[in-house]
């Protein structure tokens, strides 16, 4: 347990325990709606170390964004509830902190960038003002100092002509530049963990690459832990160290990025990888995973992936979902038949 006091001299109040920044353990999140309880996250566990990039991969509705929001503590209660689980940051369970203590960790310890930077920036204020707000609010800086810091941050995220554009409004920037501004705001207070929720989805491919490069550079410079939430397998391959694949609110596979691409251990991951269009297979049908992701209000018994799985056996259709287990050294998968899936090339 470390003090939550802000230190202005640069030494951090929160220190990672053995290089471990974040430890999410058996996290559950449910949305209690009028139509029933939607179980968005069902026992997700993963860790993040200093300087590491963890990609959380999954299709829409798999619970990736909810995971990010749960870590940030920005889910609205009601309708969202966290019935059990821990989110340990530097050894302290964030879910047990008071809202005020938690708020102080946001931005300065754990920060987040959003998918669509245009809607994530306030349209009525100049970007420099918005970046500077981080310093004014958290560090009590005066206006002109905050402005200078905003300009230097804009330069840091490689916005050309930062000094001239500091008073421009979000809609006057292109999509890529807006995402850079969002990144500048997120890293303003030098957080130890940065969560990027589909940071490049709204951008075109060349800009995507630039933004990913920028994130990678910033992470390298500051030894930040980066959680990259995405559904884009291409983005993941370039930058991630480890990948956690999510399905129906569970982590179904966790592995080193090369291992996972070479030999997926879960049928879902395998299906995902096979569905990437390939230039050398022109004219063939694209292979897709049949069926739809389950309705979160009615997750099937047994393994939630069983209706779509090609390895399905009777054991998959009943009882508890398979647990995440070590199928190879350093590789985790939640499938009864992982060994077969890995071996099946």
């Amino acid at each position: 347990m470390t003090a939550t006091k802000e230190n202005l001299d640069g030494t951090r109040a929160w220190k990672p325990v053995d290089g471990r920044l974040l430890d999410v353990e058996d996290l559950y999140v449910e949305f209690r709606t009028r139509d029933g309880i939607a179980k968005a996250i069902n026992g997700a566990s993963f860790t993040l170390d200093e300087g590491e990039t963890l990609a959380i991969l999954g299709e829409s509705g798999s619970g990736k964004s909810v995971t990010a929001q749960a870590i940030m503590g920005i889910l609205d209660t009601p309708p969202a509830f966290i019935p059990s689980g821990q989110v340990r940051y530097c050894g302290t369970d964030l879910l047990k902190l008071s809202e005020e203590e938690r708020r102080k960790t946001r931005g300065s310890e754990i920060s987040m960038i959003f998918q669509d930077a245009l809607s994530a920036l306030n349209p009525v204020f100049p970007v420099g003002w918005q970046i500077g707000e981080m310093f004014r609010q958290h560090r009590g800086m005066n206006k002109s100092d905050a402005r200078e810091r905003a300009i230097s941050l804009m330069e840091r995220v490689k916005i050309p002509g930062a000094r001239q554009r500091v008073n421009a409004y979000p809609h006057q920037f292109s999509g890529g530049m807006r995402q850079r501004i969002m990144i500048a705001m997120a890293i303003a207070l030098d957080p130890a963990v940065l969560i990027a929720d589909e940071p490049t989805t709204a951008l075109d491919v060349t800009v995507q690459a630039q933004i990913m490069q920028l994130l990678a550079d910033l992470q390298h410079e500051r030894k930040m832990g980066l959680i990259l939430i995405t559904h884009d397998l291409g983005v993941v391959a370039d930058v991630a160290d480890r990948i956690a694949v999510m399905y129906a609110g569970r982590i179904v596979e966790q592995a080193d990025v090369y291992e996972l691409y070479r030999q997926p251990a879960h049928p879902y991951t395998k299906g995902l990888l096979e569905s990437i269009p390939r230039l050398d297979q022109k004219g063939q049908n694209l292979s897709a995973i049949g069926g739809l992701p389950p309705n979160l209000m009615r997750i099937p018994a047994g393994c939630p992936f069983n209706p779509r799985c090609r390895y399905v056996q009777d054991v998959c259709r009943t009882g508890e979902p398979p647990l995440l287990r070590e199928v190879r050294p350093g590789r985790l998968a939640a499938c009864h038949f992982s060994e077969e899936v890995i071996g099946d090339e």
Partner: protein
């Protein structure tokens, strides 16, 4: 592009448009024909700067603004417009028609109608402005709080608002003002204050509802979530992220309501329970002028205060509409 014309020229053209007959029609055509603000080398654009760009090309805006400025000047410095004392009345001059000496004629007591009309602006403007301020502050605060925090607080505040909303303004105003009677020598501001109180008690729910719905609209935006994710406190989120994006509808309705409050004040005074003599107000003047037989015998007594009242109310409603059009990007 019109933007590059000198401002004076634009205004001159607008002014000409303004007097060629039907204001509303001309204004609408002019407004529609103008291109949306934009172009090269454009300085920063915000909602309000865009709105200003849009409004300044509309003659209706300038007409409304000129009328409002005139009325406000009358209210602040009535002596600029008349050297006469509105309380100096010569009974022998009772109900004189307009003449060189009394350009609007005189009333039953022999007071100069012109002077009384000028001095009457003060009560109307004070009631209108203060009621609008109080209603906007109370309504805005309650609307924001109930939308932002939601849940039980929202239910409670919304129901309370609906109770007040259900009371007809005039009826409620009569009841409240009857229970707060004035002494003959009550100070002017106290009398005005009671009217403001009555109208505010009845007027805040409509603004609270509008504020609530626009805060509800702004709240789910990503930038509010982003501000939370970057550690902004609830107060900070409200003041710098929600309010600046949610005030436009309330501004519009408050401007329109200002005119309405002035009309209600006149109505209450007409009924003898708003402001009372010796206070001078348009409502009182209209009330005195509508005695049996006076309308035919001395129509000037009714005409001039009514005209000023109507023009003032009209000016605020026009301004509100121009602001609404300018703030609504869909109408551009």
């Amino acid at each position: 592009m019109t933007d590059h014309r000198p401002t004076e020229a634009v205004e001159a053209v607008d002014a000409v448009d303004g007097i060629t007959g039907d204001d509303v029609l001309v204004a609408d055509q002019t407004g529609a024909a103008l291109p949306a603000a934009g172009g090269d080398g454009e300085p920063v654009r915000t909602l309000w700067s865009d709105a200003w760009r849009e409004m300044r090309h509309r003659p209706l805006f300038w007409v409304a603004l000129a009328l409002i400025l005139l009325v406000v000047t009358m209210a602040a410095f009535p002596s600029l417009f008349t050297a006469r004392d509105p309380l100096y009345c010569q009974l022998s001059d009772s109900r004189l028609p307009p003449s060189a000496e009394h350009i609007f004629g005189t009333d039953t007591q022999g007071c100069d109608v012109y002077a009384r009309t000028i001095y009457g602006a003060r009560a109307s403007v004070l009631v209108g402005v203060f009621t609008t301020l109080v209603c906007t502050l109370i309504g805005g605060f309650i609307g924001t709080v109930s939308a932002f925090y939601g849940g039980f607080l929202d239910t409670l505040l919304s129901r309370v608002g609906e109770i007040f909303f259900a009371i007809p303004t005039l009826l409620g105003g009569i009841v409240i003002l009857y229970s707060l009677p004035n002494e003959p020598n009550s100070p002017f501001l106290l009398v005005v204050g009671k009217v403001v109180l009555a109208l505010s008690v009845l007027g805040w729910p409509s603004l609270a509802r509008i504020m609530r719905s626009s805060v509800l609209q702004v709240k789910p935006h990503d930038y509010v979530q982003a501000a939370r994710a970057l550690g902004a406190s609830p107060w900070r989120i409200i003041t710098s992220h929600i309010l600046p994006n949610a005030v436009a509808p309330v501004t519009v309705v408050a401007t329109i309501n200002l005119g309405v409050y002035i009309a209600v004040e006149a109505t209450l005074s007409f009924l003898g329970i708003g402001l009372q003599p010796p206070a001078i107000s348009w409502g009182i003047a209209i009330s005195e002028a509508s005695g049996i037989g006076y309308i035919t015998a001395a129509p000037h007594m009714l005409l001039f205060p009514s005209l000023f009242l109507s023009l003032t109310v009209l000016a605020f409603i026009m301004l509100g509409e121009v602001v609404r059009d300018a703030l609504d990007p869909k109408l551009r």
